[in-house]
Symmetry: C2
Subunit: 266 residues, 2 copies
């Protein structure tokens, strides 16, 4: 039987709400995801929440009922509450039908198997959680093996990143590493490092791509540091036909990623 | 000489801050933009603010000095203030060096000259201001003639949309129209309507595109209504190689737009 919580002052509500802050996520090793679609995606990928909140009346939806049953079977705690508390937990006026609290996923380079996919996405000092989530969603769409976050990137487990990923956070392996460690790891095996850059770059449709390609996108405001761009095997640029000199980072990553899978040699 | 304002309670501060709400923007016909980069982009496109706020000490930057001089020459009001008030105006903890208040730009289909560009972007019931701004930024990058917003879309003049556009709001013509009016206008002249759709769609690299192409993207959650998809000359889909069934709307628009300009016949 689900426990019922209706008070904002309930300690579990406060604790879960605190997971919207990075510090608390790090301390607890937990993060938040919301919405039937994303939580179902997580379940199908083998991830069930440690705590599952649903609003009274929402447990009749078949997907919600399946989530509730699976969470209980796995030993997670299911909590019935109301939409006001769900809104408080998710920070959205119009929350999804469910909110789940998940254990943070491993983010080690060591768990990546580079031969498992022809394309890997790599982002350097990404600042915007929406961009990070969108890049994860794109990683899923192009069949990428995973996303590697180089140097100090925004937290992939923030509510905004999880939301923008539309569930891809649960299906796409993520690794975090400083540049030196990433670059050393990359050079221990096959891998073509392709960087989005301006200097010394060729048109993005020109190169011969050879799997596995590691596609590297730089910081939103500054792009790749020159030393990182120099370390790439290929530097590519996307034509800019208007007045601006750059695309949104998630957009540039996606245009490039589709170009790579279109032209890659196995 | 710039006027100086240092009080949060100043009526102009309150009035400008209220422009973060759509209702006030509509009533006043004004909107907010921030940051030297975006305001300079606007100036270069011939748009100067009616009010220009800068933080004390920031007027020594050459771009800021140029903006201040140009705004004064054009009869706009320049206001010296501090970064706390700038933060209040922009709603960001870390505001840009300047905030400008601009007259809203015309958004009529009648002002679009379809033969002026090989590609036009069209979005239907777009909900997210970040997506709208990002699509404007992409429109600039691919040399699109403009962006047409069909049916009830999010306001392109919101602070979030202006920010995500990185200034493209000032350079890319925008039109708003209900579907029937847009479709009737489209069919009065040449124009290939290409819709991102799932049903009856061909791979996005397959069609012969003929300028001017009107590339139509549907609502983030629901995609195009079947009747709108049916009205398209060509329906295209982008391959989805993972578990999810869709890309972010701004990402899908950009991948498609680059495919179109790559393959279009003049």
């Amino acid at each position: 039987m689900p426990r019922e919580i209706t008070a904002f002052s309930n300690p579990l509500v406060k604790r879960v709400r605190s997971l919207r802050d990075k510090k608390h996520r790090r301390d607890e090793g937990l993060f938040l995801a919301e919405g039937l679609r994303i939580l179902t995606e997580a379940r199908e990928a083998g991830h069930l929440p440690e705590f599952l909140f649903f609003a009274k009346g929402n447990d009749t939806h078949p997907l919600a009922a399946e989530l509730i049953a699976a969470t209980e079977t796995a030993g997670g705690e299911v909590i019935q509450t109301d939409s006001d508390i769900l809104a408080k937990l998710s920070g959205k006026d119009n929350p999804g039908a469910v909110v789940g609290v998940y254990r943070e996923l491993a983010t080690d380079l060591a768990r990546l198997e580079r031969s498992a996919a022809p394309l890997w996405l790599v982002a350097e000092r990404l600042r915007d959680p929406g961009n990070l989530g969108t890049i994860l969603r794109t990683a899923d769409a192009v069949g990428a093996g995973g996303l590697i976050l180089v140097d100090e990137c925004v937290d992939p487990f923030s509510v905004e990143a999880v939301r923008a990923s539309m569930g891809a956070l649960f299906t796409i392996p993520i690794a975090r590493a400083p540049w030196d460690k990433f670059h050393a790891w990359l050079r221990t095996g096959p891998g073509q490092l392709v960087g989005l850059a301006l200097e010394g770059a060729v048109d993005y449709r020109a190169p011969d791509f050879a799997a596995p390609v590691f596609l590297l996108t730089g910081n939103e405001a500054h792009g790749l540091p020159p030393a990182y761009a120099q370390a790439c095997d290929v530097r590519v640029k996307i034509p800019m036909l208007g007045k601006a000199d750059s695309l949104n980072a998630a957009v540039a990553t996606a245009v490039m990623a589709y170009a790579v899978i279109d032209r890659i040699r196995p």
